[in-house]
Symmetry: C2
Subunit: 322 residues, 2 copies
Amino acid sequence: MKTYLSHYELVEQTLNTYNFSGEPIELYEPVTYMLSLGGKRLRPVLVLMACELFDDNIEKALPAALAVEVFHNFTLVHDDIMDKADIRRGKPTVHKKWNETVAILSGDLMMIKAIDILCETKYHQIPELIRIFNKTAAEVCEGQQLDMNFEQQVKVSKADYINMITLKTAVLLGGSLKLGALIGGATHDDASHVYELGKNIGIAFQIQDDILDSFGDGSIVGKKIGGDISVNKKTLLLLELMESANEADHLLIKQALTETTIDKKIETILQLYKKYDVKEKAEETKKEYLKLAFAHLDALSISPERSESLRQTAIELMERMS
Amino acid sequence: MKTYLSHYELVEQTLNTYNFSGEPIELYEPVTYMLSLGGKRLRPVLVLMACELFDDNIEKALPAALAVEVFHNFTLVHDDIMDKADIRRGKPTVHKKWNETVAILSGDLMMIKAIDILCETKYHQIPELIRIFNKTAAEVCEGQQLDMNFEQQVKVSKADYINMITLKTAVLLGGSLKLGALIGGATHDDASHVYELGKNIGIAFQIQDDILDSFGDGSIVGKKIGGDISVNKKTLLLLELMESANEADHLLIKQALTETTIDKKIETILQLYKKYDVKEKAEETKKEYLKLAFAHLDALSISPERSESLRQTAIELMERMS
């Protein structure tokens, strides 16, 4: 994690020195507020690591790194409105601390600023960077809309779910890596490979998240086990169970989903997860995506030494989460 | 209006042939829906007219024209949520026809698409266009936030108000003209002049709007007279009245603003407007901005014949509104 940590420091430093102030303050304060809530800074670190695959000078990828972090935080501000979430990283969400108008508008502003910052990159083909960024941004909106649709939708397949998390979460990791790689001077072939690497790792990360929510160690994961189950979230695990369960167990699932005693609901569903080896099946799916990801890493036209650091980081991030 | 109408046709045609479809449909349908609601298409027409000041080939300004219209509609979708507006151009607003989640997300998507379309412009300095576009976009957010603030704010000065409408409305007209001019090959000096031209005309338009809302002919304006008064909107007229009224009339104003019988409220405020020549004062302010606008038109380094069409259009738009 040495590379991750040093890049993380660079991202934090850049974020702290960037001036997001302006008038009226209701519009600009939430930008600084959101960016100060912290986090892993995974996306900007990936931008820098991808640049480093091709060029030792990673400074030139800093605007793009900052841009994806600001963009990511824009999506969080708007998602929190839609999810009616009151708390993010232990602090009130923007629409709670201010109000919904402020959250919509300062979110819009963050989206605009993200593209502005991306334009600061010293690169011969800025429009190309913007097209990649915008394509990713549109897909993230599509993913969020699908996620919202799934709440109402009765039938959701595993394939639907993978498509949703690909758009909502994974493409931004792919896009971050692709931007960094191009800025570092990658060929278009290599840029495509790092994109696929990020996308597939993103899918694996999300599946891992789903698994930990039901099977993790609460004290390590940092949240109560069974959160997804308690709100009937259609995760890969639940969809896997729905596809495997026999008729009698389908009835049990149906009852559990309408069960008002949360602990009982969680217990029933967890028992069924165990009965149908749902965790193992999800682990299998996760491993397939990881394999795909690393195949794209191996396909890069650079020396294995150069890509070693990114490979190690991906493996360690995966392990740290479990 | 001949030029306006032919450019309007070109904009409509371009809008109708552009493909905004995609999946999930909840996200993409509102884009086509909003753009089909019609309107004057003032901003895209201005892009084309500004390009034409410098180059007969206006086709190359079409992506920018489309981009500003899509951006303008994005702001309408989000503003309608904040204003809790149910109807736009006689049709349900996006958050009413679908829901708020759809309105937030499809608005976000429109903002992204606007920049995407702008990037399609054949121009040697796309990042410059994007910077102008983003600066304007951020200012429009600032203006909307100020407008929201004014609803709660007790003291708002005329200068505050002019600043707010400049940001919320006028800079987008300025930005539209500037983009068109640059694409048409204008020098930076000329581009600045058309920006100021559009900004000052935009301020004059908004003041005209305020005047018509209280003093227009309802059957021509197409809405009930006194709409602004009925919701205590801090227009230039009301702020002008507040700055002129004597102590006794200040009491009358205060009573009127809390009056629940709307017709009575409108009648009282209109009487006070007449007593203090508020309409005439607002007309004076409007004329000052128009004068400024035309001074910038005169300052352009092009032949007066070439700018005649834009001058006539501005004058006729102003007259048509009254």
